[in-house]
Amino acid sequence: MTPALEIVSLSRRFGGLLAIDDVSFSIARGGLSALIGPNGAGKTTLFNAITNIFPPTSGEVRFMGQSLAGIAGDKLARLGLVRTFQTARVFPGMTVLENALAGACLRARSNAVAQMLRLPSARAEERKLREQASALLDLIGLSAFRDAAATDLPMGAQKNLEVVRALMADPAMLLLDEPAAGLNDSETADLAALLTAIRDCGVTIMVVEHNMSLVMGIADQVVVLDAGRLVAAGAPADIQRDARVIEAYVGGSV
């Protein structure tokens, strides 16, 4: 089976800075992999290059065997690749439930006119999406706040809401940029449970994460970046023993 995501000698330059330097690795379908590395290593830039927000300067990205060259924005989500952003970006002016539902925009089968006229088909679809969103909010412990303004939630809850929202798009693969930033320990544990549950439903996940214990606990593959270069990629246990990783993480600060 082709991997979910293949990164082939990918580089991205910003002026004089080579933010991603000839990185190659691949992610198997159905896995939960973690992308780690010190601040400024290029993790977000890698996500931006994959999703063509800042397209690769050279190299290629393949998703489910298909090249992503020139495919950006909503077309990626339509292929099944959905990402979140490092800074919380819930939609202001909408409630928590509406935010979750906004993730399902691309799944709406009924057209705008049917929705405006409240035709039975549109109402049935709306009901189904609402049930699904409520169930997911329940799972992450946000259902009590479903009618609150999303921007009134604490930062950690907003990041969880973003994961739920991305999930509502029914993706084949999720790219999550630091979803655990700003979460306390119990919230992090909730998130870890949610991520493994998502993975068990067959969604491939790649998550940028700083929290090593979280990463080592749930990931089945770890990719390590440092200064734009790939340091190592492999099973968590191997990574923990890898001298280059220890160098990248500990060496600098000791």
Binding site: T84, F91, M94, C105, D152, L153, G156
Partner: protein, 634 residues
């Protein structure tokens, strides 16, 4: 050749004023990041003050000029400190931009009260006789103007690049956060730029007033021309402002001479649209590329304004019932016709709400679609005996085609450039309704428009027209409400605040924007048609750009993103002058002031406030402030 040179000289002197206005724009834009649309009004205020000091009180010219500038700057600083500067700090850019449009209306209204609606011309500084260079004749005031503008440019350049104060101003322009950390008082600098811009505006206004006679609303003209100039030159660039202003002045004079003075604007506006397509950042674009994946704008923390389904239905029924019986009551004279107008305008405001309130796309050109719908239906029904309904349909079809064309330009634009493109569209339609005399009847309007009628029933009384508009509005609110509470509306709202995140979730952003624009254009078009049928008459100024600003005021006052809210804004602004006699002269000023005040003090609008209050009444005791319990619980 001589004739051509003469025209170019005329164009340069006209362009000098545009350049000065553009300079004011650029200065404020560099320091605050906002284009201050009220800039053009300072020209009028300057000329007006000059009129009193010089003509009415007989002061000598230099003293009168100095006093005028001081007076305008003082007034500008007072208004800027209480409205503009707080707005820049707390509102998103698009709201601040619209707020400055409100300031423009406000200043125009002040000029109307003080000055009346007469045009005034000041005496030239040094006599009527032009000077001759060979065979070329140049009016002396043109020389004063050129010299004055050149002196202002030099002074501004010296101030910004050669003084300590200028360095502080520049620091704010580059990075306000860093500047404030370095001890620069950013708010003071913003106010200072606003005051300097007022001085530039006042000086250029009193210099140009002897050449072009001004009236209370000439500020609109200076603002739009200066805005166009700044867009040609590139926002924030001083050199660009000057070049853009001069280019625009010359282009307009040439068009006026070789085509028709009625079309003087058209060419410049078409040029600008082409420019926005080809090079949206202008000729002298400056500025580093932004990191688009990081949000830099102020995020609006607007509370969602929601009512439960049951309450909404009850409220809607009560509202329709009350509004429905109004015509049967003994109303004071003139109230029913005003109600009819308010209801017809509400249909257009409803469209604007979908576009601006729900999708976040600033539109300063809504009246343009009213004009297209109004003129198409009126002309077809009056001159070609089409049934009114067919005329309305044709108007909507044409409006949709125009919306499609406009979206080619606006699709990729945001913020100021989007506002500019829609404004240009509105002005373009204005210039065509005035210029195409044979088709539209020109400035004096189109007379003899029949009543609206369907299947043999004529809506020829104010009450029948009112009920028709009410019924249509009710149907639209009902259907749009349905749309907004489902995936369609969520797509719009996602695009409103975060296009990148919306796209990442699979929302087709260009298509969503186009859909909103089409809904908005269709409703405006229908409203324009009804407007013409209601008055049996249509003239350009009934559906011109000031109407776009008025509808924005109605929307913001009533409550953006609430659908029904626009009705209350429309009722207030239409009925107040009718109910309170003698208020008519204050209407323009009140409109501007209300728009500014609602942005600053009532951002959710009248209806939004009402809904939030209702929600609070019904809220569970455990959650009394409408505050989510999230903060406490986690």
């Amino acid at each position: 050749m001589l004739g051509f040179l003469q025209i170019v000289i005329g164009g340069l002197s006209q362009g000098g004023v545009f350049a000065a206005v553009a300079l004011g724009f650029s200065l404020v834009y560099r320091v605050t990041g906002v284009v201050n649309l009220s800039q053009g009004a300072f020209c009028v205020l300057g000329a007006m003050a000059m009129y009193y000091f010089q003509v009415a009180w007989g002061w000598p010219t230099p003293l009168a000029a100095a006093a005028s500038i001081v007076a305008v700057v003082a007034f500008g600083l007072a208004v800027g400190a209480t409205t503009f500067v707080p707005a820049v700090a707390t509102l998103p850019i698009s709201s601040t931009l619209v707020l400055t449009a409100g300031l423009l209306t406000f200043f125009g209204g002040v000029a109307l009260i003080v000055w009346g609606n007469q045009p005034y011309a000041l005496p030239p500084f040094s006599g009527e006789a032009p000077v001759s260079f060979g065979q070329l004749r140049v009016p002396t005031q043109g020389l004063w103007l050129a010299g004055g503008v050149a002196a202002m440019i030099a002074a501004l350049w010296w101030l910004v690049y050669r003084t300590q104060l200028g360095r502080a101003l520049q620091a704010c322009a580059e990075n306000a956060m860093a500047a404030s950390l370095m001890g620069v008082d950013v708010k003071r600098m913003m106010l200072l730029s606003f005051g300097l811009a007022a001085a530039i505006g006042a000086a250029s206004g009193l210099l140009v007033a002897p050449i072009t006679s001004l009236q209370f609303d000439s500020g609109d003209f200076f603002t739009t021309s200066g805005f166009v100039a700044v867009a040609i030159g590139g926002m924030g660039s001083f050199a660009g402002a000057v070049v853009g202003g001069l280019l625009l002045g010359v282009a307009e004079q040439i068009a006026a001479y070789y085509v028709s003075s009625l079309f003087a604007n058209t060419l410049a506006l078409l040029l600008l649209l082409a420019m926005l397509l080809w090079r949206p950042n202008g000729l002298f674009a400056a500025g580093p590329a932004r990191r688009v994946d990081v949000r830099s704008e102020v995020v609006v923390h607007r509370a969602p304004i929601r009512l439960a389904n049951g309450r909404m239905a009850g409220l809607a029924l009560a509202l329709v019932a009350v509004l429905g019986v109004l015509p049967l009551l003994p109303l004071p004279n003139g109230v029913l016709p005003s109600l009819t107008i308010a209801m017809i305008l509400f249909i257009s405001v409803l469209g604007l709400d979908v576009l601006m309130g729900w999708t976040g796309q600033v539109s300063l050109g809504q009246a343009g679609f009213m004009a297209i719908g109004g003129y198409t239906a009126a002309i077809l029904a009056t001159n070609y005996d089409w049934p009114p309904l067919a005329g309305v349909a044709a108007g909507m079809a044409l409006s949709l085609v125009c919306a499609l064309l406009l979206s080619v330009v606006t699709g990729r634009l945001r913020g100021h450039y989007l506002a500019l493109a829609t404004l240009t569209f509105g002005l373009l339609v204005d210039s065509l309704t005035v210029g195409l005399v044979d088709v539209t009847g020109g400035p004096s309007g189109l007379v003899g428009v029949p009543s609206f009628g369907v299947a043999g029933f004529d809506f020829d009384t104010p009450a029948s027209m009112y009920w028709l508009a009410l019924a249509l509005a009710a149907v639209f609110v009902f259907t749009l409400e349905g749309g907004m509470r489902s995936q369609f509306g969520r797509g719009l709202q996602a695009v409103r605040t975060d296009q990148l995140a919306a796209a990442a979730l699979g929302v087709n952003v260009p298509r969503v924007k186009l859909a909103a624009l089409c809904v908005s254009a269709a409703l405006a078009s229908l409203s324009g048609s009804l407007y013409a049928f209601n008055f049996h008459f249509l003239s350009p100024e009934m559906v011109a750009t000031p109407r776009s600003f008025e509808m924005i005021a109605m929307l913001v006052l009533g409550g953006e993103g609430t659908l029904v809210g626009g009705l209350f804004g429309s009722l207030v602004l239409t009925l107040l002058p009718t109910l309170v006699q003698g208020l008519a002269a204050y209407k323009t000023m009140a409109e501007g002031a209300l728009l500014v005040a609602s942005f600053l003090y009532l951002p959710e609008g009248l209806f939004g406030r009402f809904v939030l209050w209702l929600g609070r009444i019904g809220a569970k005791p455990a959650n009394p402030n409408g505050e989510p319990a999230a903060k406490a619980a986690t």
